[in-house]
Every structure is written in C-alpha cells, then in structure tokens.
Amino acid sequence: MKEEGYDYSVVQGFAFSALFWLFVGLAVGLWLAAEMVYPGLNLAPWLAFGRLRVVHTNGLAFGFGLGGIFACTYYMLQRLTRIRLAFPRLAKFHMYFFNAAIALAALSLFAGMNTSHEYAELEWPLDIGVVVMWVIFAINVFGTLIKRKEKQMYISLWYIISMTVTIAVLYIVNNLEIPVNWFKSYTVYAGANDANVEWWYGHNAVGFVFTVPILAMFYYFLPKSTNLPIYSHRLSIVAFWSLIFGYVWTGAHHLMLTPLPEWIQTVAIAFSIFLIAPSWGSVINGYYTMRGEWDKMRSNYLVKFFIMGITFYGLQTIQGPTQGLRIMTGFFHYTDWVIGHVHMGTMGWVTMIISASLYYMIPAVNGREIYSVKLANTHFWLILVGQLIFTITMWIAGIQQGAMWKASNPDGSLTYSFLETVTAMYPYWKIRFAGGFVYFLGIVVFGYNLLMTLKSPEEATQPRTA
C-alpha cells in the first residue's frame, strides 16, 4: 500500500545517505578503538588518532545523525501537514548538498583543517556551507508548514520547529571566526569565554540534534507503528517547553572545576538536575502509551527498538546530571566513564530510534514489506549487546582510572604514574573494540535488510497494519 501524493524520493535518499555515513563512521570508530591499543595503526598523518577522532564524531553526528533526521523530518513533515513538500526540488538539492558537504568535511578533517572546537571542527568555508544548507532546509520546513492542510501541529512538529531555529542560533554564534586564509581561522572568543560559548554550543548540539529531533521521531513513529495514541498530550506540552527552556542553561556542566567562573558552573548543574523532569516526561509518556499493550514488545519488532531506545534515553538523562555534580565530575571527568555515557546515548537511544524509524519509513514509501523481520530482530540484539558491552566496559574503566588518578600513598605522594593508569586500561579497550565490532555487525545486518527491502517485490502479501 504505497502512500501516494507525497515526495518520498528525498526521504529515501537521505535515509540511505545516513546509512552510508553510519557505516563509514563506525568503521572509523573501530579503527580508532584499535589504535588505542595498537599505536602502530596511527598511519601518519591522515589516520593518526587526533585527526581521525573528529572524522568519527562528525561523520556520525552529522553524516548519520543529521542524515537520518532530514529523512525522518521530510517524511513526518509531509504526513503531519497532509501535503507535499513545499519545494521538492530544493529538498533534492539539499540532499546532494548535504552529502557533498559531509564528504568535504571528512576530507578537510583528514587534512588537519580543524578549529579544535568539539562538534564544530569545520573551518570557516565549510561553516558557511553548513549555514546555507540549514537555510535551505528551514525554507522547506516553514514553507510546508505554512501551506499545510492539517490545522493543528502535532507534537513532533514542535520538536522539528525548535530544532530548526535553535541549531541555526547555536551554529552561527559558536562559529564566529576571523579567517587567516582559506584553510585557517581563529575564533573571536578567547580563553574562558571561548570555552563557555563552545560548551553552550556543544551541549545543545547534543540537545537539539541527539534529543529534540529524535523525540520528534519517537512521538510520531511509536504511535504509528502501534496504533496507540500518545498517553498524555498535556504532559508532552509541559515536557516540550521545559526541555527547550532548560537545555540551553546547562552547557557549562562540561566545564566543572575549570577556571570558568564558579557561578556559571553552579547554575549549569542546577539546570541539569532540573532537566531530569522534562526528559522523564517523555519517557513516562512513552511507557504509559504502551499501558496494557506490553505484549507488543514481543509481537511488534519496532516497539522493541522504540521502548529500548527511550529506556536508554531515560538512563542517559539520569546519568548525565549525576556525573555533572562537582563530587562526581572530580572523579569521573576526563576518564572513559564519559565515553561510556556518550555512547549509551548515541548507540542506545539515537541509533535505536533512527533504526526503527527507517524500518517504518522505507517499506512505507516503497509500498513494500520489510525484507526480513528476523534480520531486524538480529540487528536489534546485536546493537543492544554491542552497546552494552561497550558502555559497561567504559564505565568500569572510568571508575578504575579515576580511582588510580586519585590514589595516593600515606605520605601524600601519588601511587601510580600516569602511564600506569593508561596501561591498566588496555584490557578494557580491547573489550570495547569487541563490543564495537558486535555493534558494527548489527549495523551491517541493518543495511542489508533495508537494501533487500528495496529489492523485494512490490505489494507484499500482508498489508501493513499501520
């Protein structure tokens, strides 16, 4: 049952672009994980850890993350407004522009053109390209919203609107820089100011890329794939406004115990604690939507992804504010604990939700059934187990390294040299590689399943239930 009257070519294009960059980003991640233990793999200069790490983070956050977000946004936007995209050809241009930008970004980072701002490493010509791309996207979002046939805007559209405006503000302000030449610039902010602006950006890039649009998908695709209405509309209103209000206050929790003025740190951590409430508002909304229907966890493979995803989101939003507290950050910051935290969010929450959203959309836009539910289940278990191996190992490693850094002898001298605290990590780093590899296998299964769905015969035997 093909859904007619909408422009789906761009949805499909972005979905498979995201899949491609996911594959690339994870392969780079595995290489990096191996470098941690086998330094010979640092093939200079392009594959040395310092250059490669930013290819990993940018490739996955922006190639995979944004690609998946654009795919889902263009789909949800049309379905929720009940009209075609306002500017389909512009959307198609957006897709080619996006892939060209990500490819150029990766090349420039390999070549060492790097501003050093985390998640904003691109040099200024590419920054301008990113802003142009975002404007193109925003024109379609607002153009379609203005022309829409459905009067009320559903929850997911609120999240899409707030992402669209906030990312624009964040990206432009944090990337204000003065060029030296085509490949090099200096930020306009100095020292502690630069740190504060950067983490206002960095944390909200997490907020408005890894949280807000992913919640848009969750609020749309969970009800669609279960035929269950969202539990509480009022709760979603309260959670939405308090989430976007609170998020922008919290960036400085990345800078606890640094020379940044103490009041900024304290306010940031207070708002981080506050953020537990709106985050869990969405978690509770998701759980209560499933009330009395929990057997769907077994019978509907998409529900597994969505409920495990929102569960990791719930855990993530408890762990985050907790580890930001001064006493905790003093112990955990700069260790692998934080690496575990980030990867629970990205490998657990973000990828689970985008995976399920693509599993919903790709068959829907092609009028086909998913190639194999069994493979989808295999994918689910591989990425779940891979992620758990990865994150739990990193947490244990973080606790051990944090303790070793702090260990001192009765006379007050340090028990361990720095190098001893590094070599103690090698066994964990090997296990982390294994976890990442299991996860990678899951993504290979995912990609195969989606590609085979395109090849399977149209108009499958079982009609879609959703």
Partner: protein, 220 residues
C-alpha cells in the same frame, strides 16, 4: 499557537534565548569571565605556529590543558589553572578526555631534547605508551608565510619586524652549536632541514611555553 508555525517558531526562539543570554551572552560582557593579567604573556610567533600544529594534529583530543583544584591533580600536574593564563588562547584547548596526561604546565618540565626524542618515537622512551609517532613533523619545514597575519588576527600586537625577528632568533637558537638539545634535534631532523625551522621545532617551542608564566612567577 499550536496551529501557527511562525508564532510557534518565535516563541521557541524566545524560550531558548533566555538561557542563552543568561549563561552565554552575559558572561561575555563580564571582565571577570576572562580576566587579563600583565604577568601572562601572549605567545610568540613561533609558539603560535606550534600551537596551530597542536590544533591541526588534534592533540587536544587526548591531552587536556586545565588542572583542577583537586589535591592529587595538583600533586601530579602542578598548580591548578588560573583564568588569567588563558587570556590569549584562541581557541581554548582545555580538552575533554585524558588519554594522555594534562599538558597545561608541561613547559620546563622536560628539556627540549626529551620532546624531540619523545615525539620522534614515544615508545623508545615508554615501551607501553600508545601515543602516535610524530617523527614526520621534523621532516616538514615550518610554513611561516602567515605567521605575521596570524599574530595580527589574534591581536597580539607584534610588528612584522618583531615576528620576523622572533622566527629568525628561534632558528638561530635551535641551529646553533650551543643548543643543548642539538644532538636530539639533529637525530630526528633530515639533513636538508637542519638549517630550517621545522614543524617539530615550533611544536616544542609551544610545549615549552605552556604554564611558564606561573612557573616563572614562583621562581621570582
């Protein structure tokens, strides 16, 4: 509001601007966020070039440059970081993960020769280290064509002559027979570049400056 996208977008923007103004714009306007001290000197031209190589190679992905006011951290790395020390840091390089040790006070901790040898092959000194080799930095001549423009953009206020003199002086320093790390430098530098400034020279100059303003203060 839920049926008016433009009004909704404006509302959402206002809501995110409240925290943005309080936490990001207001601190920018306060002197106390990034105080300036006459005791902290800007980087010289060659140090700034070294710093740019540090950035290019992504050293900040494994090394932090901020020492927290915690007892064991001060024992390990030296005095905790003071805000004044970062007044000339554009960008800041505090970092977020310590795969390697903090470097904020690495200046003066080891002789230049140590850095040349360590960068050339970290495992020759620490067999179990996982740091990448940076031997190839000694095989690349330092590009100084933008050195003046760089110091100008970051507002250090040097004249062209001062920048050229700094680069020339540093070249004399590392190539003179009196240079105490001369043997180590010669060993890692290809013969054709022995009389030129290399990227490794600049990086060593930068590393040796880190934290020195406070260390010199303690001496005097």
């Amino acid at each position: 509001m839920y049926s008016r996208p433009i009004v909704f977008a404006i509302m959402a923007t206002v809501v995110i601007l409240v925290g943005t103004i309080a936490m990001m714009v207001v601190p920018l306007t306060l002197q106390s966020t990034q105080p300036v001290s006459p005791l902290v000197k800007p980087y010289t031209a060659v140090e700034l070039e070294g710093r740019d190589i540090y950035i290019r190679e992504g050293c900040n992905n494994c090394h932090t440059q901020t020492i927290r006011p915690l007892r064991t951290e001060v024992v390990r790395y030296g005095q905790y970081s003071k805000p004044e020390e970062f007044a000339y840091d554009r960008p800041f390089l505090w970092g977020s993960r310590r795969i390697g040790p903090d470097l904020q006070r690495v200046g003066g901790k080891y002789p230049d020769s140590w850095h040349y040898r360590h960068m050339d092959n970290p495992r020759s000194m620490f067999p179990k280290s996982n740091m990448p080799d940076y031997a190839w930095l000694a095989a690349r001549q330092l590009d100084t064509s933008y050195s003046y423009k760089k110091t100008h953009v970051v507002g250090y206020g040097y004249t062209v002559n001062e920048v050229n003199k700094n680069l020339a002086d540093y070249l004399v320093r590392v190539t003179s027979s009196a240079y105490i790390a001369g043997d180590a430098r010669d060993k890692v530098t290809p013969p054709v570049l022995k009389d030129k400034l290399t990227e490794m020279d600049a990086l060593v100059a930068y590393l040796q400056k880190l934290g020195m303003d406070v260390k010199n203060l303690n001496k005097s």
